[in-house]
Symmetry: D2
């Protein structure tokens, strides 16, 4: 088989360099082009010395490059870039995987409300697939355009899918997602709030009054449960670590749910999911157990009064972003799910 010709738009951020780390060792990929407005002309390995001797590419000026030569293009860009370029790529038969939010929310008005941009290609949006392979594998395989899920949504949705799909949650109380992310989630942007001397040895909540991942999660919760009554309280926190995300989910079971052996239910639901690991009963996962790897681990703990506490961990840059994007690509090109994704977590 010919290698997949891959283009990356906007490769200077953390999801960009993470795509490069994974794709550079992907046996079926040929890295064709990577663009950056700001760094055009600079060798990639000068910006990211971790790739010296491995990635010989030079950042290209996006205005001067023809991405239609690629089989697939990843957008690791700010919101709004992908939707501007995707129509031409789709026309040329190129597949698109957007790591930003342009194709995550089917409701264009909602997108516009949260991202302050009108959606410029709602026709493509309506065909785009939400790239959560453990839930939408069949659609992903057929997709031309993927909206790669946000990091927080991935933890909430994979944490709750088995319960939502079965209709076992009591929606008279809201789902509470108390989420915690490492600082790389804020991206490689020069900002005071994420300086080492600000974010280190410190802890804070943010976005309590509204976060862009709230509508994305809620829309998917409704879709997965087939129930519009779902409500969600979502509180993200910033943790002084580079990578890693842990979401603690507090939910209530309904009458049907309360009689289930949840441990067995989860084990069965994810038996064929190579990247979801259900921890043994009584064992909680930690984020370093997935550092650098495309794995999400979760534990299920019953609480009094039919409540359940789920603890879900992933590497926000891998299963929460670039790794999941590669997982989608593998599906789209009929490759075994774990091709190029066998890298093991770095512990300690």
């Amino acid at each position: 088989m010919n290698k997949i010709k891959v283009g990356i738009v906007g490769g200077t951020g953390y999801t960009g360099v993470e795509l490069l780390r994974l794709l550079a060792r992907h046996p079926q990929v040929q890295l064709q082009v990577i663009t950056s407005r700001g760094e055009a002309g600079l060798p990639v390995a000068d910006l990211f010395p971790s790739l010296r001797g491995v990635v010989p590419l030079i950042f290209s000026d996006p205005a001067k490059v023809d991405l239609t030569q690629c089989d697939v293009v990843f957008f690791a860009t700010p919101h709004g870039v992908a939707m501007a370029q995707t129509p031409a790529l789709v026309t040329a038969g190129v597949k698109v995987i957007d790591l930003a939010a342009d194709f995550r929310l089917q409701d264009a008005a909602e997108f516009e409300h949260w991202y302050k941009l009108p959606h410029s290609c709602t026709d493509i949006l309506s065909q785009a697939v939400y790239g959560l392979p453990e839930v939408y594998a069949d659609a992903v395989k057929q997709a031309q355009v993927i909206g790669n899920p946000g990091c927080y949504p991935t933890t909430v949705l994979l944490g709750l899918a088995p319960l939502l799909e079965q209709g076992w949650l009591d929606f008279s109380v809201p789902i509470i997602a108390d989420a915690k992310s490492g600082v790389s989630g804020a991206g490689r942007k020069a900002e005071v709030a994420t300086l080492f001397a600000e974010a280190s040895d410190n802890l804070r909540a943010y976005g309590v009054a509204g976060h862009r991942h709230h509508p994305e999660i809620l829309a998917q919760l409704k879709k997965l449960s087939g129930n519009d009554d779902v409500r969600l309280i979502f509180v993200p926190h910033l943790i002084p670590m580079i990578r890693g995300m842990l979401t603690t989910l507090h939910v209530k079971l309904n009458a049907q749910g309360r009689s289930q052996d949840l441990q067995a239910v989860y084990a069965q639901r994810y038996a064929d999911a190579p990247f979801v690991d259900v921890m043994p009963a009584g064992v909680l996962p930690d984020t370093r157990s997935v550092r650098g790897a495309n794995v999400l681990r979760l534990s299920i703990t019953r609480q009094p009064d039919d409540y359940v506490t789920l603890v879900v961990v992933q590497d926000n840059l891998v299963k929460g972003a670039s790794g999941q994007a590669v997982q989608n690509m593998n599906l789209m090109f009929d490759l075994p799910a774990d091709t190029g994704l066998q890298v093991l977590p770095l512990l300690p």
Copy 2:
């Protein structure tokens, strides 16, 4: 006035050195004696060079020292030590402030269940006061023996006191306390789990199935609300930072509560509390804003469906332990509340 003669039992842990930091600069305190079984004979400043030139004390063998010469004795020891020595001190008229759990739970059976020790002085226990000055100031002033609150309970109780006292919570849903602590909360014990290479750049929940602070919090929630129906889901997490604790509280208001201006209610409730700071509406506190200081800051955010999210921060070693202990001492000796507690947070 004569200075207060202070003894510290077990001064080699983090709450011990924190007591020393605060008391060494307390204008009304004379540090009289500090004991350690393991380090007897060692100058304190050899173990804690931060105190070189400031604390001239040498660790004493607890078997050879007469603590009845003191006006007050702090126990910064493992659970069980204080209750063994307190009866003799009480007889001698010495006041006792225990930073461990010996005098926190009025229910001796509960103590025994969680700490695997029979309680050896239940008569004294029944007279002991739970040292949360913002709630029990009058009792603290009269107390001979103080059970200094746990770090997690302090955040939950001060976070909810205004609502509990008014009876504004809906107890048909549990209070959810999603709590996060810096690693110093685990103490200065040689353990693999809290090594730098284990706890750094990592995040995990623990004690989901049961934590010793759960019964302590629950007992106080019941007492503060006068309602035995309160239920609590408490999930602590270990955060890769030295100091700091942030507890996110998810609660539901009842019909009375929902019509209140909570921001104003909290501001008024804590108007005379020098160590509790209600953040302005819309502003969330971070832990570094209290690093090293005896301050607890909190924010109140209304959510849909009558839910409220409270974010509460403190330094677990100060307002969550040694600072609160000194605050109790000030009350017990009729000193202005902030005597010796004016040290400002270290930011950055």
Copy 3:
């Protein structure tokens, strides 16, 4: 005595907030005014919540404020600001303490070379005093204008002063200063290189080919030794910690030096220096033992072949910047050296 009326120019950086932390509790200081071009109108405590309830000041527009009402003005600004404003202040009889480099290098050409700015008040520069109190106390007492030393220079100069003053170093080999600084030394500027996700769990050298502190150190080494043959190799490193600086000095003794009891020499040299702590023989200092405090600790280790290794630690923001500035102010206003500087290190 009337309190000293203090102005701070440029109070939004780390040396600014550190000045505020120290001066807010200084018993002889009245914080009069603090300026910021970018934050004019904002309450200081909104930017630095650690100062809520303690510092009621609001940032003033520097264009609208009359600093001549102050007794002393601290400049916590980028290089070049102080020299523009100092002449008017000197004329008005106001003392000036500049925490930037404007008054550190007596050689204006050298200043111009390293800072790419012509020096605009060389007459005042020639009268300015290098504010290293342990060496130049008498001059500081008389000074109108202080060039507060750089953080790295403070460690090198106090580390070597006893040897330089006695003429005990062998200048046929260079002094090697292998220096390590916490990230706060880079300031509160939005830059990618000092983001948490870049600087955490990482270590690098920088400025090996030339650093602005090199000429400052060298000029003082020559002055202290009275010898123009001194040579210096200075290699700074960036350490993933917020505060703290450790400089390892590798020097060679000459014939006279080799026969000395250096431990005794250092102890005697700094016997009257309340902020310099000579560690006992065989004990090395760590940075946390000075975290937040105006203390510099050092150790002396003899090596084979007449080499000596000195390890010097300080908090870069305190003894390396704002604390030393307050120490200078105390001298200039005839206050006891440790007034307002008794805050103890925060350990852990």
Copy 4:
């Protein structure tokens, strides 16, 4: 080719889990057995959840296992264990790679002095090869027993080999190795000094008066230079990061050395070394650029007076330990050097 049957003795420490991470994905390796006295019977993946689903091994009791079934045995044990078991393995024709110090020092008396153990198999020691492949590749290929180099020595020796081999250093001044290591270098042992709350946000030197790596480095410096006059000042520091080592080398060139183009010399010396990366002139390496990868990067900076500053970085657990051990194994079994060692650094 049949896969190499690998045994690991003592797999519960950091070099052990690192061997597992690398060998589990090594295409020519079959992990046969792993022993642990303390954890016998425990699944490896229970101790290291990062290996769940990948390493099915269970820790074996070392007393009950026959290691002679293996082709090669790695010792990731405390000093002294390998030399007790190696004779029997050698007799059985099994190759041995010891990650501890038992076979690093050819001088048994020196070993005994520094490690407080008599050497029990000096005959094997005399045949053992110092496993630094970039210097001793031919000997490694023929070796039955490898003493895998210490982490610090690897940085110093690869940093200086080009100069030592050419005889270009001036030995009238000592080589100064100012070295910095992440905390994982201290191992996975429960000790107070390496607790998160002790080692985080802190920096210290240690072992200034003598460190076990000093004799190892010195012996190799003499061997590489063929000169017994080499002297070494070695000062290690503990850095608050998990992984990573950076050694700053300060050396003086002799008359021959001073006229060389060092950048070109180094580039040529390491042209065929896949794991040594000479940075471009003027660019300094950082530790994260090698995090998790078997790469050592170095830069060369000329200083005045014929001094040179070399900055050398590696991951202490990979090129400084387990990765280098696998590199040695590849050589011993005639595999391409990078087999199983292509994992890329994790950045950020």
